[in-house]
């Protein structure tokens, strides 16, 4: 009897922790979605309001604005990551032998650095009057370049709605490029060398080899890393939070759904609404992941 229960005993720590920190918050959040709760008033202040929170969320213009921001940022930061990482991985894998690890390490460094430190550095870099980027643009004014290319005044990068989103996308791109690079290089290692040799012997050029041999083999890894990018992009919180000073920026241009959810819960003290928002975001992420699956998953291949 005891022997039969030993496996369960060994498994129990994980399930215990997962139950407390994983399942319980999800269930509690689902329950909270139907309540109105101001946390400062204590547990007894929960009021059942049915679908009111969901209706309020769907009618709130800021929720839709934040979803728009989130999707824009997810695409604008996610797409370049993969468009650059795939050819870069191919080049590193094919052309570099000795310095490969050092280069990959250099690209990977931003991923393992603290997000807060990175965002603070970029805030300083993009500062309107004291930042290096504007100083560089000002120095470029000395060169004989057309004036429409070089701005005449300091650009308020983080204070203008049009520019704050590209800056956030840039920071996220810079951070995750290395991670995707590592994944793709690992996937490229698994492609048999004979295919390349055969192709070269048949006289195929580099671009043809890349397109017809490398890319199809990369498909499973692309699906995996694209899914990660989609999920991560839609959950974006840290970079916009620091770059906009926690407030979302002018016209909420930098406010992502995760950030708006956090502020609703902890600054505006409305946990029910925040829960409704979080489940709406979950639905969006689920749909986006399913679409990614459809686009990249295929019947023959498997990870």
């Amino acid at each position: 009897m005891l022997k039969a229960s030993v496996p369960y005993l060994f498994l129990s720590p994980f399930f215990l922790l997962f139950g407390i920190f994983g399942i319980f918050p999800i269930v509690f959040s689902f329950v909270l979605m139907f309540q109105q709760w101001d946390p400062v008033q204590g547990m007894g202040a929960m009021q059942f309001v049915g679908l009111e929170n969901i209706r309020f969320t769907l009618e709130d213009p800021w929720v839709w604005k934040s979803l728009g921001n989130t999707f824009w940022l997810a695409i604008a930061s996610g797409l370049p990551q993969h468009l650059v990482a795939v050819p870069l991985a191919y080049l590193i894998n094919e052309k570099l032998q000795g310095s490969r690890n050092a280069l990959m390490g250099a690209y990977f460094l931003p991923y393992i650095t603290s997000t807060v430190a990175i965002a603070m550095m970029f805030t300083t870099l993009f500062s309107t009057d004291y930042g290096l980027v504007n100083a560089l643009l000002e120095a470029l004014q000395q060169w004989p370049l057309p004036s429409w290319l070089i701005p005449q005044e300091h650009i308020d990068w983080l204070g203008t709605p049009e520019t704050v989103k590209p800056v956030i996308a840039l920071v996220v791109f810079w951070r995750y490029l290395g991670f995707n690079l590592i994944l793709y290089v690992a996937a490229l290692q698994s492609i048999p060398r004979e295919l390349y040799e055969a192709a070269r012997m048949d006289g195929a050029r580099e671009w043809r080899i890349f397109w017809s041999i490398t890319l199809p083999h990369l498909r499973p890894m692309m699906m995996f890393s694209m899914t990660l990018s989609v999920i991560g992009g839609l959950q974006l919180f840290e970079e916009p939070f620091i770059l906009t000073g926690g407030k979302g920026g002018v016209e909420q241009a930098g406010m992502t759904t995760a950030m708006y959810m956090y502020r609703t819960a902890f600054e505006f003290n409305d946990f029910g609404l925040a829960s409704a928002m979080s489940w709406l975001l979950f639905l969006m992420i689920a749909v986006a992941t399913w679409l990614t699956n459809r686009a990249f998953g295929s019947q023959q291949e498997s990870i």
Binding site: V40, M43, F56, T128, D156, F268, N269, L273
Partner: protein
């Protein structure tokens, strides 16, 4: 049988011995934690059997932790430090002990405190002299003042009165400063809006809501004037578009790019300690333009309703807030302007402040603090502030008509406040 009796007696005695050594928990943020720790030796002489544990967290983390503690009724401290910005929500939550009731009877001390500060800690619409409950006792306040750079004013050929006689004079001076020295008048047009919506709030009303809790953003003339003046400032290019407490804000002070800043008197301490110590002697403190008296921030002490050692907590709070020496020590060491009227006199107040070029600014701040009128705080103040700021951004950057902006803001706030 005999053994059982001995064991029971031992248990009872050990429990009794445990119960003697009480632990009082105080939750605070910098620099309130340092102030409390400095006050403990004197207090523990009267209560040698009590251990005091001071739990310090950063400002935002502290209030999030208190929110969580109130939500779950666990890990509650006995004495809770609350900053003015969070007082509204906590006071209206019902999670704080009503200090007006016996055995505390806090209203007996009302006259010893600066009027507006004590009223802010009340739960009945914050009216001075109200007979409602009392959620918190003030310990320090932030009397509002206009810090300005005298050297920049001199270069522009202006006097202090040019800045402070009226808001129009303030803006006109700003234009002169910009044209002669190139420095901005203020950090952000929003700062001007913030102070103008707090000017002349009728008694019993809040900044965004009236006494009945109805939103006044679209109807009150304060908001229209505030938006118009902010737009005028932005249109004349007088603001640096820098948010307070950002790196650029500090940098602007260091380089002398911003000529004035309206804030609580405690900003002087920050400027001299870390924001711009090299600008020593160049700043002066003036009353706010247009004769306005307002406060920025302020710390309060409260007792959670579910705290364990409420009597001891009340004793400690009284020691921290009613003791003149204690309040003066906090002022001397940590720039915490005393809320206790008796502590607002003496040689320390007459002392010239070196950083402000020898100005005896503390007297000015004291006069301001006595003239400030309390405003009621409401649960939805934070979201109302957010919505009004968002509409102001649209007015400033997208040229949205002010009337439309205020109407939209009022509609959005109504929608949120209905919940």
């Amino acid at each position: 049988m005999f053994r059982r009796i001995i064991l029971t007696l031992l248990l009872v005695f050990s429990l009794g011995a445990q119960a003697e050594k009480k632990v009082l928990t105080v939750a605070a943020y910098p620099a309130v934690d340092a102030i409390v720790k400095a006050a403990l030796p004197a207090w523990q002489q009267k209560h040698p059997d009590v251990d005091v544990k001071v739990v310090a967290r950063e400002y935002a983390d502290h209030h999030t932790a208190m929110t969580t503690a109130l939500a779950t009724s666990s890990n509650l401290p006995d004495v809770m430090a609350v900053e003015y910005g969070y007082l509204g929500r906590f006071a209206m939550s019902g999670g704080l002990e009503d200090l007006a009731k016996p055995p505390y009877l806090a209203h007996q001390y009302r006259d010893q405190f600066v009027a507006f500060a004590f009223a802010q800690g009340g739960t009945s619409a914050g009216t001075a002299g109200g007979t409602g409950g009392q959620s918190a006792i003030p310990t320090d306040i932030g009397p509002g003042t206009l810090f300005y750079r005298k050297d920049i004013l001199d270069k522009a050929g202006l006097q202090e009165s040019d800045l402070t006689s009226s808001w129009d004079a303030y803006i006109a001076s700003g234009k002169k400063i910009k044209s002669t020295t190139g420095a901005y008048l203020l950090a952000h047009a929003r700062d001007l809006k913030d102070i103008l919506i707090r000017a002349n709030v009728p008694a019993g009303e809040g900044v965004y809501f009236d006494a009945q809790g109805k939103c006044v953003v679209a109807t009150s003339p304060r908001f229209k004037i505030a938006f118009e003046q902010a737009k005028a400032v932005r249109g004349a290019g007088l603001d640096a578009k820098i948010g307070a407490w950002s790196n650029e804000w500090g940098e602007a002070f260091k380089r002398g790019n911003v000529a004035s800043q309206m804030m609580g008197a405690w900003l002087g301490g920050h400027l001299s300690n870390w924001l711009a110590p090299q600008t020593k002697g160049l700043w002066r403190s003036a009353p706010l333009p247009g004769g306005i008296n307002a406060a920025w921030g302020g710390t309060f002490f409260a007792i959670p309703a579910r705290a364990v050692n409420k009597e001891l907590a009340w004793d400690l709070i009284r020691h921290l807030t009613l003791n003149k020496e204690q309040q003066l020590a906090a002022f001397r060491q940590h720039d915490a302007f005393p809320a206790l009227k008796a502590a607002q006199s003496g040689p320390f107040f007459e002392q010239p402040i070196e950083f402000l070029g020898g100005q005896k600014a503390r007297l000015l701040w004291r006069d301001t603090s006595l003239a400030i009128r309390p405003t009621a705080v409401f649960k939805h103040d934070p979201i109302a502030e957010e919505i009004v700021n968002a509409e102001l951004d649209l007015v400033l950057t997208r040229d949205k008509p002010i009337a439309d902006a205020l109407k939209d803001a009022g509609a959005m706030i109504d929608r949120r406040a209905r919940r």
